[in-house]
């Protein structure tokens, strides 16, 4: 005891010094909680958590102070995340539908059935009749196995993930502007920026940990300004220095007006533009993807600065004022913040610009502003695209679990196919050069019958798809076979023919990749419940049953490490190098490009990025090393309010719940704080309808209708003529009303705009 106390006294004397815990045991406490590091299960911020494990159960959570993401602070979901593991109704046994009812079955039966159905459909209807639909909540190894299994081994590009519904526009935005996906900067930009502009982004609720970091910076440093540019007044607006409201879809026009002002006042960075940028224009009137088998391909054309200026003439602030509802004064104010050479500016956005029928354009336009002013790729100057899921970046975007993608490059690129075939040990002819179905089209194909078999993992599309009814009914059709791997019963498992119980988060080993290119490893801390095991291992079991054992020669114990070693080969090099397995295990997170044992915090600048040539900027994603400034006009949304349906419907999240709520609603604290969905109304609209908070209102769109309680001037305050409804509630499915229009370039649906009518119910 004395030795332990002596050691303890020494160890605690200096808070800045870390000593290994194992050697400091034997304290008077008798407390047997062990703390282990993991990224949070929920959003794309990727907070580092320390999870307290006691007697084989997770019992507590605290923020990991060693994590550069959150530095010890979490949000209410993170602090209660481990409770989501212990819902009484966890799926612990496989279920098979017999005579219309899901009944318990053995794991062997279930896996045999899945494998035989896959084989049968491939034999009868061809490779492209089977599909896997995964998720940005897949760990990186899950996504990797899915990609190898579908694209390499079976030979179909029928692989998509729900990140299509949230991050596809961010990806195409990056690809079209810079030629490489994911942000150039990192969260540390928050500690350097003087101005923060949030584009349609309620960060106080959706990315609260990063928002608190911004508030903290405003307290510590003089002159830090936070601007909330949104369609709805929220907590974020309340905390901001300026809240500027715009009419839905007109962010396109306002962004162009900001560019107009910057050029008009000569606030643009001439040297930077000349050396590092080119101007391009693309197609216009590009449609909304409402019809089946919609196709679109953009054709970039060269432009000059003069032509760009001429184009912007239509976007004088005075002209945009009427369209957008944003005063010319406010537009000029925003432009002056971006234009001030002495201010470092960070733009932040997430679903506002992404879930947008012109989502790719909106992303391009924000980059335009940063490129015109040269405020990019340096500490504090950062257009930063935030992410909604823990591994939308790590798994879906980096592994490439989308129909057109491979772990490195795209399927239509011969070199990329050769590289993948070589690493996977498959004939290159196995990999099809033609993308098949993006998410919306994949579910349309399931409805049409072009796809007969779909395996859905770690996501809940029959709550989250837009225009739900069509896709749910399609999945229920007679000769469709739906397999769902999940941890709880959901509206998606309700339509399944086979349900496989999955190991959740820290019940298995894995890695997530967050918004700032940071890869974070977590070990297996708990035993999975019942017969559950990981999504990756479920696919491996099925692949083996189909005769593909040799491509997945790993054991249940070592597969994560082995997969990482194989995946590592795809990204070798200084542009996307990832950290080796041992490093990931040790560090609380590693940012790629990981070069010579170091994370790269800012890409495309020689000072911070070893891959950048020269002595300053090098946008090496594009062949000529130059970033593209795009001419992207304002175009109206697919559906706007009219006489029959006079309100805008906007959907989104709330702080307490994450996505479709299948996890967070099983956490008592979170459910009791936010037990059901509601419809936010402007007080003027509410009084016109004779509705007050708690009264029932009926929302009706051309797709469906829903009755739910009204919320007047509570958490959020939509502008007049707009209703806002959160989508987490599976018993109040707002996506029955939403429209499946999407951005033709990214194919990401717009969940933020459609027309509804509102009645007192």
């Amino acid at each position: 005891m004395a030795i332990a106390s002596a050691a303890m006294a020494a160890a605690t004397l200096f808070p800045g010094i870390i000593f290994p815990n194992e050697q400091l045991k034997g304290l008077p406490d008798g407390d047997d909680i062990k703390w282990k590091k993991s990224p949070c299960r929920f959003c794309g911020v990727g907070c580092g958590l320390l999870i307290g494990v006691q007697k084989g159960k997770a019992v507590a959570v605290k923020g990991d102070p060693a994590s550069e993401v959150n530095k010890g602070l979490c949000c209410v979901k993170g602090y209660h995340s481990v409770l989501a593991i212990y819902g009484k109704d966890r799926l612990t046994k496989p279920l098979i539908r017999r005579n219309g009812k899901l009944e318990p079955a053995t794991m062997k039966e279930a896996l045999d059935l899945v494998a035989s159905k896959m084989k049968e459909n491939i034999a009868k209807h061809g490779k492209d009749s089977v599909a896997i639909y995964g998720s940005g909540q897949w760990t990186i190894p899950d996504g990797y196995v899915a990609s190898k299994f579908m694209k390499g081994v079976i030979g179909t590009n029928n692989l998509e993930a729900n990140a299509r519904l949230c991050m596809a526009s961010a990806v195409t935005g990056f690809m079209t502007s810079f030629g490489m996906d994911e942000p150039m900067g990192c969260y540390e930009d928050i500690d350097h920026a003087d101005v923060f502009v949030m584009w349609g982004n309620n960060m106080a609720e959706m990315h609260p940990v990063l928002f608190s970091r911004m508030l903290d910076q405003r307290l510590r440093r003089n002159g830090v300004k936070i601007i909330d540019f949104a369609t709805r007044t929220t907590r974020t607006s309340m905390a901001s220095d300026r809240s500027i409201l715009f009419k839905p879809q007109t962010d396109l026009a306002v962004a162009n007006a900001i560019c107009y002002e910057i050029l008009k006042n000569n606030w643009h960075n001439r040297g930077f533009l000349q050396k590092h940028c080119v101007f391009k224009s693309g197609k216009t009137n590009i449609g909304y993807g409402l019809e089946d088998k919609f196709q679109f391909k953009d054709e970039p054309k060269d432009m000059t600065l003069e032509q760009f200026k001429a184009f912007l003439e239509d976007y004088r602030p005075e002209k945009v004022e009427k369209l957008s509802g944003v005063s010319a004064k406010d537009i000029k104010y925003m432009a002056s913040l971006y234009g001030d050479p002495n201010k470092k500016v960070m733009s932040l956005w997430c679903m506002g610009p992404n879930q947008h029928t012109r989502g790719t354009w909106m992303n391009n336009l924000i980059y335009n502003i940063h490129l015109l002013t040269g405020k990019i790729s340096t500490p504090g100057n950062s257009p930063f695209s935030l992410t909604g899921q823990p591994s939308a970046c790590g798994t879906v975007r980096e592994v490439g679990t989308l129909t057109h993608a491979l772990p490195y490059g795209t399927v239509d690129n011969e070199k990329a196919r050769e590289k993948a075939a070589k690493i996977w040990g498959v004939p290159v002819t196995n990999i099809s050069p033609k993308p098949t179905y993006h998410t919306v089209e994949m579910f349309r194909a399931l409805d049409r019958g072009d796809i007969k078999f779909i395996w859905i993992q770690t996501t809940n599309p029959f709550v989250s798809m837009p225009k739900l009814k069509r896709y749910r009914e399609g999945a229920k059709k007679d000769d469709r076979f739906v397999v769902v791997s999940d941890v709880y019963p959901t509206p998606t498992t309700d339509v399944a023919d086979v349900v496989l119980p999955a190991a959740m988060w820290i019940e298995r080993e894995g890695m997530f990749g967050n918004s700032e290119r940071r890869t974070q490893h977590f070990e297996k801390m708990l035993e999975p419940q019942g017969e559950a095991f990981s999504d990756a291992w479920q696919m491996i079991e099925v692949a083996r049953r189909m005769g593909y054992e040799k491509y997945f020669p790993w054991t249940k114990e070592n597969h994560v490490e082995k997969i990482w070693e194989e995946y590592y080969k795809f990204h070798e090099g200084d542009k996307h190098g990832i950290a080796p397995y041992e490093v990931l295990k040790k560090e609380s997170g590693v940012v790629w490009p990981y070069v010579n044992g170091k994370s790269t915090k800012w890409r495309y600048h020689a000072k911070y990025d070893p891959a950048a040539k020269g002595d300053s900027f090098d946008f090496y994603g594009k062949p000529d090393g130059k970033a593209w400034i795009w001419v992207r006009p304002y175009e109206p949304p697919a559906e706007s309010p009219d006489n029959d349906y006079p309100f805008w419907l906007n959907t989104g999240r709330v702080l307490e719940h994450w996505h479709t709520g299948s996890m967070t609603r099983r956490v008592a604290v979170l459910h009791q704080a936010m037990p059901h969905s509601y419809a936010e109304l402007h007080p003027n609209d509410a009084s016109r309808l004779g509705v007050k908070t708690g009264d029932k209102v009926k929302l009706t769109s051309r797709r469906g209708s829903l009755v739910l309680p009204a919320s007047v001037n509570e958490r959020g305050l939509p502008t007049e003529g707009q209703v806002f409804v959160p989508f987490f509630d599976e018993s109040l499915l707002i996506n029955e009303l939403t429209l499946d229009s999407f951005c033709p370039i990214s194919r990401e649906p717009d969940y933020k705009k459609c027309a509804v009518k509102v009645e007192k119910a």
């Binding site: 406490d29 909680i33 010890g72 608190s212």
Partner: protein, 259 residues
Amino acid sequence: MKRKSSYFIIGLCVALLASAVFIFLAALRESKRPADTDYMQTGDTPSIPAEAGVFRRLAMALQYQKMPEGGRDLRTYYENRAYPGAPPLIPHPLVSEKGIGGKTCLQCHENGGYTEQFKAFAPVTPHPELLNCRQCHVPKTTEGLFANSNFTKPDPPVLGQSAMPGSPPVIPHTLQLRENCLACHAGPAAPKAIKVSHPERVNCRQCHVPARLDDLFEKPLMEDASTWTRPVSPSQRNGTQLDEKEVSAIGEWVRENNQ
């Protein structure tokens, strides 16, 4: 080395530790390599400096003794949390759903005081610098559940754990976000069972040290100590140790007083 249970404390001399801290820090700072970048590096500075709040409510220290007993008990304190250490729920109705920080919650919870509306003393937050309160603290608007849970709430830590009879109890909880002791352990809103008997001695961690190992992760060096930074000579180094006689004298005293 063998472990023996019947050792008595000899030294843990405060003055010695204090001087040791300064000299040691000085030496440690000296060995730090200068940053080679032109921008201020912030990556290593946590936004929640774990030591920053230790002395925060010091000005109130003497008044605490005169304050009334608020009648809050430890049972309700723990009932209001999903597990010991979890962010507490908001147990009362709210003024505004959109409200943030200074204009709402902190009005009462920054400094506490009696609120007529709830007939209670408002508990004081140990981290008033964090403004987005609702990021972690949520109200309970219903008693119902979406689904039942198998989560088992761990027992709260045992009070009064000390290494030896009479020695100061250790801190049984983590300090993260709770580094300001007096916020929860003094004043009328403090649960009676954990109220400190001597709030006027504000340097709590002079005698009370964290018991749990998990507090040993990285925290920033105490920046304020830099004012004392100076080179260390070998004579100064030797000067920081008690001589053997002093050590045994203190040991005698401790032994006598504990029997």
